[in-house]
Subunit: 213 residues, 2 copies
């Protein structure tokens, strides 16, 4: 087997390093890049480096952002008394897409997973407790000593698996002394799903979580 | 819905432009990029631009290459009397991976497709005829007037679909006057495939193409 272009092979290697991209897809992407204009390709290259150069972590919610605090934490209209705890930045995006939540977020940075050696001290657990303790300052209040908005509910939105459940349980215990409501997003049949084909675990949760009509 | 980082969104947009990458995959890739080191990301960015800056088209076979003529056309040991005609550069790679072919290639740059407005004049058909007419010079021969190696077989390796068949038929007709053998790669059941689940067209071709044991 003979390669005819080291540059092409190098790019295939780079693409194949990324998750969900196998060698076949890497080759197809490279073939597409070859047909794009140089300006378009430079646009992709610059966007890649810009992400590393511009993106930082919000010091309030630990979401990714270009400006600290992030636009969500800065937004004057959002409900500062509700906090939604998620694992990763992409989960914030998923919840934002529903347009159903207007509180603030707290990005844990993972879940408790003893098998992977991840404990509460590796996550932003301490920071969560601090936020629940302190409440949030209203960004429209100019005065440094303006009273903070107290947090009245923490919604746990971990992924529905063992690690997510463990983390939710742990955080629930930890936040109990603060007297805030701690809730967890529902598990059940996905919309458009088929009861007949639902797995037992999901169906069990759907039955347990049944609500009055 | 609120975005928290324009840089992240810009990269998601760039990824989502690529084929086989939807918005969900684009978000997952961006999340992965965020966790990579800056050096690794710069490596990807540079590989992208390098492809546009270094890769050119071989003036003999029209494959992608960093140096003209390409390593396959330059290789002294390859059989210069057999030419394999393919649609795209990735097809060369696919055939090279078999380690079964040691002739040269000719990359057409597509297939005849009246519906897409692609005719023979949009492909490297004229160049193919010229190569079959001229034969190949041996790259080890220093002398300018060394006799060319005559082409004795042209293997058509178009994709097995209507456009590929049309193109093969057209090229077969076109090359007939040159008295070279023109063959076409076989169609039949894929190895590891299941006769029971093969579609009718493939099974028909497999029957038609049966060979003596």
């Amino acid at each position: 087997m003979q390669f005819t272009s080291e540059s092409v092979e190098a790019l295939v290697e780079q693409f194949a390093k990324l998750p969900t991209i196998g060698r076949k897809t890497a080759r197809r992407l490279t073939a597409y890049i070859l047909k794009m204009s140089r300006e378009e390709v430079v646009g992709i290259a610059e966007a890649l480096v810009a992400v590393k150069d511009n993106v930082t972590t919000c010091t309030v919610c630990y979401n990714v952002t270009d400006h600290v605090p992030c636009p969500i934490c800065r937004a004057p209209r959002r409900d500062r008394s509700v906090l939604c705890v998620v694992e990763e930045p992409n989960d914030v995006l998923a919840i934002e897409r529903t347009n159903e939540f207007d509180g603030l977020y707290h990005v844990l940075g993972g879940v408790i997973s003893p098998l992977d050696g991840v404990g509460p001290e590796d996550l932003r657990v301490r920071e969560l407790v601090q936020r629940v303790h302190d409440g949030h300052r209203d960004p429209l209040e100019e005065a440094e000593d303006a009273p903070a908005v107290a947090i009245r509910e923490v919604i746990l939105a971990m992924n529905p698996n063992v690690e997510g459940d463990t983390t939710s349980y742990y955080l629930g215990q930890l936040l109990e002394p603060f007297g805030v409501r701690v809730s967890r997003i529902a598990r059940g049949l996905p919309i458009g799903g088929d009861l007949e084909f639902a797995d037992e675990a999901t169906l069990t949760r759907a039955l347990e979580g049944r609500a009055n009509l």
